[in-house]
Every structure is written in C-alpha cells, then in structure tokens.
C-alpha cells in the first residue's frame, strides 16, 4: 500500500536527500516522500492531496516565517480531522509554550517526535503504527477497496431524501474532508454494523 510522507521543516535544505528523510525512505519502501521548507507550500501540498493516504511530519518552529507549526496544525484541522500529523521539535516539550502544547494535545490523530532523542528506527516505528491504524479505519478500508475494484468507484453508494446521490469515490472524498455528508455516512455505516452484530448475537 503506497502512501505519502510529507515533511515540513525549514531546516531540510536538501529536500528528499535530507539524511533523516532519505533514511526513512530507504527503510519504508511504500512511502512516497515530499519535503517542504516553506510552511505555506507544505500546507498547500497537503490541502491539494487530502484524498490520498498521507502522514505529515511538521516542525514546530519556523524561524522567520509568520506561520509556525501549530498554525499549520490548526489550518489543517479546519479542513480535515483525519490526517495523521507528527509534530517534530528540536526543543524538548518543556521549552514549548504551554499554549502550543495544548493546541497539540487538543487535536486527534497527532503524535510528537522528539528530534533530539529520536532515531530513524523510532520514526519508522511511529509511521508503521499509524499505517496499522489505517487498516481499521473506514475511509482507509474504502480507499483500498476502490484501488482493487476501480469499477465500483462510480457506483451510487448513498442517496439522500432530497434526491442528491453520491458515488463511492465521492463518499471517500467527503470522508477525508470530514464534511457533514462524510460524517453522516460513517455514522450510518457504524450503526448498521452494530445492528447487524447485535442481530446475530440475539439469534
């Protein structure tokens, strides 16, 4: 399963040849690497690729930029709450402002990677843990299904009372963006399975 690893760090001047990024790339052959030094560019890339499976590594501190790591986090979360984000810092947590820490821990699907004490193997283990979550999450399962069964992509999956209908492909996008429709659909599917399982248990 291919997925994108996006690094946004103003110190990664060598792009995908940055030693840390390159080492991860060599260890995890499924990962497609992208590196951005400018937080705005990185943010744009993430926003343009929300419909693909992706983990974003974001540095906390950008010297000389208006936007800082937690600003990116907030902007990404305005669009989607599903993207997995790993915040990285060369400062230890004690040195990070309380307000930034609370901005981080108040978000879902977020990890912290300590650049001082971490290792390539530690970062890879983190990525693998995240990819394991993917195998149980509905949007990820659906995506993989559609990769194997592209013919299902344009089939109608859901029709509203108002007459509006959504294909499986569209549903996937709605899920990723966590729109009202996306959330409603996910909720209905979960309820449906709980009813199903309960029905069997009753028998």
């Amino acid at each position: 399963m291919r997925y994108k690893l996006v690094f946004i760090d103003d110190n990664m001047k060598d792009g995908t040849n940055d030693a840390f990024v390159r080492a991860i790339g060599k260890k995890l052959s499924d990962a497609e690497l992208a590196v951005f030094m400018d937080p705005e560019e990185g943010l744009r890339f993430i926003m343009d690729n929300l419909n693909s499976q992706m983990i974003a590594f974001i540095d906390c501190k950008f010297d000389g930029f208006a936007k800082q790591g937690t600003d990116l986090l907030k902007e990404i979360r305005k669009q989607t709450s599903l993207l997995y984000i790993v915040m990285m810092s060369a400062n230890n947590l004690k040195q990070i402002e309380g307000i930034d820490i609370s901005a981080m821990i108040n978000e879902d699907f977020i990890w912290f990677y300590d650049r001082n004490n971490g290792s390539v193997d530690g970062a890879c283990a983190l990525i693998q843990r995240i990819t394991q979550y993917w195998s149980s999450r509905f949007d990820c399962v659906l995506e993989r299904w559609l990769v194997r069964h592209p013919e299902d992509k344009d089939k109608i999956a859901f029709r509203q009372v108002s007459g509006e209908s959504y294909t499986w492909g569209q549903i996937l996008t709605e899920l990723r963006l966590q729109t009202k429709i996306g959330r409603l659909f996910e909720q209905m599917i979960n309820q449906f399975y709980i009813y199903q399982l309960n029905g069997k248990a009753d028998e």
């Binding site: 103003d10 110190n11 001047k13 060598d14 040849n17 940055d18 030693a19 840390f20 390159r22 080492a23 060599k26 501190k61 950008f62 010297d63 000389g64 930029f65 208006a66 060369a90 400062n91 040195q95 307000i99 650049r115 001082n116 290792s119 390539v120 009813y195 029905g199």
Partner: protein
C-alpha cells in the same frame, strides 16, 4: 427491533463535587460568590456572621443574610435547584428599580456553599408572603452515598427536606443561608482577609444607584463592621492618573520628561472597546505609610471591574501577595528593565469595563482568567503600556532625587568650608578667642573632610550601581539568547546526527557513494556553523559589554577602514554618508561593530557578480530616532523573504558560504539596543538591498 427507544443522562451523586467543592478553588471565593448572589438579588445590605468558627469550638456556623427580593417555592424548585439554570442569563439586569447588572451568571454560585460547610439551611421569602420557606440540604448525605459502593446513587435521587415557618412581618423579604458543619477553621486573619476582599467588590468609581453594603460580624474576634468602603486610601499615592474614552477615542498615558508630568493623549479606540482606568503609584515612603494605615489591605496591582463589580478572575483570595496569580502578566514581563519596572506591589489600578461596551472581554468558565482572545490580549497590552508611563516617571524621579541628593551633599560641603573660613577670620581678628575657637575649627574641618569623603563614596556607589546594572542586563539578555542559541545548536547537532546515523545504517554501499560524500562535506560545514554560533554565544562572556559613550561616526569609519583591503580586492566602492560626530551616551560599541560587520559581510557576498559594486552606509538623525541605512548594488532579497532572512540559519547566500547567522546576529544586537531592523526598498532602485536599522536617540 423495536424503534424509538431512548436513553437519558443521569448524574452520579459525585457530581456535587464537580460543581461545588472542586470547581471553586478556595473558601474566600466561595463566600464571595454567595455575596455576589446577594447583589444580584437587589440586596442593599448583607450580613455575614461567623459564630464559633475558631479552633476547638463546637457547632460552627456561618450565616449570610440579605434584604434582597427573596425566592418563592417555585423559584427554589424550578430555578435554584436545577443545575445550570441561570435566569440571569436571560435577564441580565436585576428587577426595577435597581437595574443592576447581574454578576453571577454562570448558575453555579449556589454550590459554593458546599465548599464552606456540610449543611445549609436556606430561609427565604418574597415580599407579601406570609411564611418563610426553609430548605435543608445536607451535603454529607451526598458524600455518604458516594462512598456507598454497590448500587448506583444518582445526584438527582437525593431528597432534601423543606418546611415553612411563620413570618412576623409579611413585608419582609430576603434570603438567609445558614451554613453549619463548617469545614475549615476561620481565624481572625482569615475573616479580615475576607473583609479586605469584600472591600474590593464594588468599584470605588462607579456610582451605584443603590448602595451595596456588606457587614461582617465575628463576636469571638470582636469584629463587627462594614466591610465595603471607599477607596479614600489611595489618596496617599505618590502619583496617579485616570483615563477615559469617548465614542471613537481612548485616552492613553505617557510620561513627558521635559515637564516631569504624565501626558494624556487620545488614540483611536482599541479592539476591546473603551475603558476607564485609574492608576495609583506608591513609592517606598507611600508604601510604608499605606501599610501602617491599612494593615489588612495590600497594594496588589490592577483589578478589572465590570459594571461596577469586580470580575471573577480578580475575586480569588490569596493571603501571600507574592503567590497571587498575576492575571494581567504585569510581573511576568521577563527581565525587561528589571531595575525600573513597576511591579504589582507598587500600584493600585482600577479598570472599569462594561458588558455592553466591552462584550469580548469574557470571564473564562474556570473563573481564573478571561477567555484568551485577541481583544483580551490587546487589553493586557494596553494596560502594560500604561505601566510604562509609570515606569518612566519612576526612573525620572529616581534620577531627580539622586541629583538633588548630590547637590545637597555638595552644598553641605561648601557651607562647612565657608563656616570654617568665617570662624578662622573671626579668630584671626580676635586672637583672644583663638583658644576657644580652635577646637570648633578642628571639628568643622573633620566634618568637612567627612562630607568630602561621603561625596566621593556616593559617586563610587553610583558608578558601582551602574556597573552592576549593566552586568545584570547582559546576563539577562543572554538568558533570552540562550533559548535561541540552544535551539540553533541542537538543530545543527541533529543535522549532523542524522548524517552520522545514515552512515551507521547504510555504509558501505557503492550505489550511495555520492550521497555519502555529500553528507561528509555537509557535516564539515555544519561543524563550521556550529563554531560560529558558539563564538557568538561566547561574545557575551567577554568583559567589554559595559555601556559607554560612543561616537558612532568614528565606529562606522573604523569598521569601514577595516574592510579597505576586501573592498579593493573585490572592486567595491564604499560610500559613507555620516555626520561628523554622533555621540551616543551609554551604549555598546561592540554591538555596533557586530551589526556593521555582519551587514557589510553580507553586502560583500551580494555584490560579487554585480557590474557596479557599491556598498553605502548613511546615518541620519530624525528627531528622537537614529537611522542607519546600509545599501548595496548586489542581487537583492525578494520581497517575500524580507522578514525571513532575519531568522537563524535562513540565508539567500548559501552558495557563497552564508550560514544564516549574520542577519540573526544583527537583529538580536539591534533589539538589545532597543531598536528595530528591517529591509526596505533598495535605494539603488531595481538592484540591490537596503537594510535600515532604527535606534532610539536622545540629544
């Protein structure tokens, strides 16, 4: 499967803790909440009576009685005993004719009683009713149920007893809370502290249509007095000013050094809306006097009142003023001007806001602060700005006093000299007196010598003080740099570590030969950068950080002269436009050298491939500002990077060996001289760069 089945929330019995004891942080806040409820109920008189609350006494009771409008049975059943209801939210103004702005709108104040004691009896009546309604709540029942493991106990299942007692006068109205099983021992000083907090409930400057007086009685401690009072005590302040606002403008204070007075000017209204503010500053003598006259009150900073009543974050009691939470961040202003900054212990301030005029200043739910929005941040910034006027006044007074002291001492020395010569004259003219006068002359000479000695010592002490002040300042500014520098050093170390780790994981690999060689080369350069950063850090440990009088023109000329060979080797024409002499008092020559060296280094790199190579430095003085422009005809810096280049490791000259340290040093040095630096449009038009350094300047 049957449809339409529902579930509803229930509350475990332990809920009473969440909304009472655990939510309200201390007992004085709890009592204060209850007093505020009296205010909202249109009370004009509140009595708080403490009975047998001392150590070792039995049956302690606290009673809070008001003459407000009271509650009916349905008020108790449908409002008071329904959690979260706040009729005050729907009706934020208390009934006619008082029209008070309600202060306890969160609907939890009533649970404050749980913080105070195990049992409460509410005795209440509305005007015209024939009987007093009595409701008894025993919190220990809730607690016992909580400890009862086994079946679920629900908060809402516990029954509370009520009954009626006859009223002697149907016209009476009000509410009385009788708290028994009082949890804590209340000492005399606890009660005094409560009184001093209560005294601050009402802003002394907002005229209330109807009075709100709180009386406190504690027989065993001989306390029986009115706790609310006027702020006449601030009359002993050394200096004070007040600020107002109108529809469009807000008054703000600054210190006018020429007249030695506070100047009030109008500025456009700020985001938080118009505020009134009174600020009182107490110097050492005034503080002593204040402590003597008001032993139970403390000078404890600025408080915010909304519609005449103190806001919740300021209502919390803390005995030790040093432990008081510094809500507005007055004492947190890092090391900035530590010797002259004004602390909360030197000022009393009253900021009056209104719910209608400042709707975005909102109490946070935990009652410890306000909601941290832009408007509140702007308000804090505005308040701190007012303090800087007081700070300037403080510095001005200190210098004035110092000067006066010096003059007095010198005058005393002169007087003794003239006294000695007068007596010597007399004794010469009257030799018969010589014998009698000579001991006096001897004594006067000794005193004269002592005064001279005192003057010298005074001067030495002052010099010593300035020297120490400078050392402290350099240590403290270093603290801030240390934070940046450790981040910078760590980032570089991490880069090196990443590469070493790469070698460790993947070396050898013939296919990766090129990458290994690149990484080795990079590591070598990163070590060089690391050295630069460490050298910069070490520059702070050098002894030449003392402030001195500097002729800036001379410094610029010296620095430019030191580049003479570099300029001629590279075909660069230097251009200096500076006044003959620019004397800067107590500044740092080394900082100016650092600034200029780094700017010139950058320019030399930037003009490398230019057809015409000019590096120009012009210095101008504009009123109270010194402006240094350093321009070159090099490749320029893109507009979007004008800010970015000042960040550490950010460089546009990487291929020419730029490590991104230079402009960072310039920025930090300029900031430590209290100035600012920016990139403006190049004075050479489409080519090159102009960097402007602005510094405060006093003629």
């Amino acid at each position: 499967m049957p449809e339409n089945q529902t579930l509803k929330w229930r509350f475990d019995v332990s809920t009473f803790r969440l909304i009472g004891r655990d939510l309200i942080t201390d007992r004085i806040t709890a009592l204060f909440e209850l007093v505020k409820n009296c205010y909202d109920a249109n009370a004009q008189k509140v009595s708080v009576v403490f009975e047998r609350v001392g150590a070792g006494e039995e049956n302690p009771v606290i009673t809070i009685e008001d003459d407000g409008y009271g509650m009916s049975f349905s008020d108790i059943r449908d409002k008071w005993m329904v959690i979260g209801t706040s009729s005050k939210k729907a009706n934020p103004i208390s009934p006619e004719p008082f029209n008070r702005r309600c202060v306890g709108e969160k609907g939890i104040g009533r649970f404050a009683v749980d913080k105070l004691g195990d049992k409460v009896c509410i005795v209440t009546k509305k005007r015209g009713e024939a009987e007093w309604l009595n409701v008894e709540i025993d919190w220990s029942d809730y607690q016992n149920k909580e400890n009862d493991f086994g079946e679920i106990s629900l908060f809402t299942d516990i029954e509370n007893k009520y009954y009626y007692t006859a009223a002697s006068d149907p016209n009476d109205a009000g509410t009385k809370l009788i708290i028994t099983g009082v949890r804590d021992i209340w000492t005399k000083s606890d009660i005094k502290r409560f009184m001093s907090e209560v005294a601050k409930i009402v802003s002394p400057y907002t005229a209330l249509n109807y009075p709100f007086d709180v009386f406190v009685k504690a027989g065993q401690y001989d306390i029986n007095q009115k706790a609310t009072r006027d702020f006449a005590d601030v009359n002993i302040a050394t200096m004070s000013f007040s600020l107002g606002f109108d529809e469009l403008t807000q008054e703000t204070a600054s210190f006018d050094e020429e007249n030695g007075m506070i100047r009030i000017t109008s500025i456009p209204q700020k985001s938080f809306g118009g505020i009134r503010m009174r600020l009182f500053y107490f110097d050492d003598a005034a503080r002593k006097k204040y402590r003597r006259e008001f032993p139970n009150n403390q000078i404890d900073g600025i408080k915010i009142y909304r519609d005449g009543i103190i806001t919740t974050p300021f209502a919390e009691n803390e005995e030790d003023a040093d432990k008081k939470r510094d809500i507005l961040g007055i004492d947190k202003r890092l090391w900035q001007d530590i010797f002259s900054r004004v602390s909360t212990r030197e000022i009393i301030g009253i900021v009056d806001i209104t719910r209608d005029g400042n709707p975005e200043i909102i109490d946070a739910t935990n009652r410890q602060d306000f909601v941290d929005n832009q408007e509140y941040q702007d308000l804090k910034e505005f308040i701190i700005l007012q303090l800087s006027a007081v700070q300037d006044y403080k510095v001005y007074s200190r210098n004035k006093r110092r000067k006066e002291n010096n003059t007095t001492l010198e005058n005393a020395g002169d007087s003794i000299q003239s006294f000695i010569s007068t007596i010597e004259n007399i004794s010469e003219q009257n030799p018969e007196l010589k014998q009698h006068l000579s001991p006096a002359i001897e004594q006067a000479k000794k005193t004269g010598a002592a005064v001279k000695q005192a003057i010298t010592e005074q001067k030495q002490t002052q010099e010593e003080f300035i020297r120490k002040e400078n050392i402290y300042l350099s240590i403290m500014s270093m603290q801030e740099y240390a934070i940046h520098i450790t981040h910078a050093v760590r980032t570089t170390l991490n880069k090196i570590r990443d590469k070493v780790e790469y070698f460790n994981l993947f070396f050898p690999d013939p296919a990766e030969e090129e990458i290994f060689s690149k990484y080795a080369h990079d590591m070598y350069n990163e070590f060089k950068t690391l050295n630069k950063v460490i050298d910069y850090m070490l520059s702070y440990s050098q002894a030449n950080l003392l402030l001195e009088e500097v002729d800036l023109s001379l410094v610029v000329q010296e620095v430019f002269a030191s580049y003479a060979s570099v300029f001629s080797d590279n075909g660069i024409s230097p251009d200096l436009q500076i006044p003959e002499k620019i004397i800067l008092k107590s500044t740092n020559k080394v900082f100016f050298r650092d600034i200029l060296n780094n700017l010139i280094d950058n320019s030399v790199k930037a003009v490398k491939n230019a057809s015409e190579k000019i590096i120009k430095c012009s210095v101008t003085i504009d009123q109270d500002k010194l402006q240094i422009d350093l321009s070159d005809t090099g490749y320029g810096i893109p507009v979007e990077k004008r800010n970015w280049v000042f960040g550490i490791y950010n460089t546009t000259t990487e291929s020419d060996g730029g490590a991104g340290i230079g402009l960072y040093i310039v920025k930090t040095r300029v900031e430590s001289l209290k100035g600012n630096v920016k990139i403006i449009d190049s004075e050479f038009g489409d080519i090159g760069t102009t960097i402007r350094v602005e510094l405060p300047f006093k003629r």
